[in-house]
Symmetry: C2
Subunit: 152 residues, 2 copies
């Protein structure tokens, strides 16, 4: 982690331990749209992904899995601006990452991300399994009623 | 509640019981920006606001309090599109409200919303206390891996 700034390390700490993450995209009417998603940056829950993140070109990139049939796929095709929010609301400690998101269609990559047991999320079958890759360009840390910002 | 649809009632149930709410605005670069906020629709935590909501013209409107000096105030002046997200991530049960948000400057109204004890959030004093009013036009209910939508 020697190339991370102090803020990025703080960010990564929360990303690797949070139970969930919230992704917000912008729909075609120009309204933001938030939903909770599995936090595939969580090291304890998804140890099989730790290596993939190490070989990533962007060390704060995040993978997300979703249904191909979901609205967010269409939204992302039209507007790639998105944000991810990790938080402990009880302490008002939160991390916001703003950046761009893309729909990854490479089959080998998708297979690498796949985890047994996820079949319950894809009742329509394999065709409905999609992977997204989020690349941040800015982070905000909310803590102690302050906001700290940094470009990435 | 006789004028609420079934979905709106489900929505209100979660709004009135959630511990926090997440507001997303869109910044001037066109990126969404999410943060946790006090859920002033929570009936147990903010009983002094129940009457104000009853006299509201929009029965699903939400008040939020924030610092006048925060970035969201500027963001809202330029782009009023916003969303509120309430959720129990453990069950992937979530409510999304999309709509518009405005900065309320009426002093009598702001005084009605104020709660003793909030001084800790406004170290810069009274001038830094701002009230926002969010009016939804669409709701989405996420539950059982489905999404139900309704215009409001």
């Amino acid at each position: 982690m020697s190339n991370f700034t102090a803020k990025q390390k703080e960010c990564l700490e929360m990303m690797e331990n949070a139970l969930f993450v919230e992704l917000t995209t912008i729909d075609r009417n120009g309204f933001p749209s938030t939903r909770a998603m599995l936090n595939l940056r969580n090291k304890q829950q998804y140890p099989h992904l730790v290596e993939s993140y190490k070989t990533e070109s962007n060390p704060l990139a995040v993978y997300l899995t979703t249904n191909t049939s979901s609205e967010k796929i269409e939204e992302i095709m039209e507007n790639r601006n998105a944000c991810l929010y990790y938080c402990h609301p009880e302490t008002f400690h939160g991390i916001l990452l703003q950046g761009t998101i893309e729909h990854v269609t490479d089959k080998i990559f998708k297979q690498k991300i796949w985890q047994d047991g996820w079949e319950i999320y894809y009742p329509k079958g394999e065709e409905d399994y999609s992977v997204l890759r989020f690349v941040p360009n800015r982070l905000k840390i909310y803590s102690n009623f302050n906001v700290q910002k940094e470009k990435i």
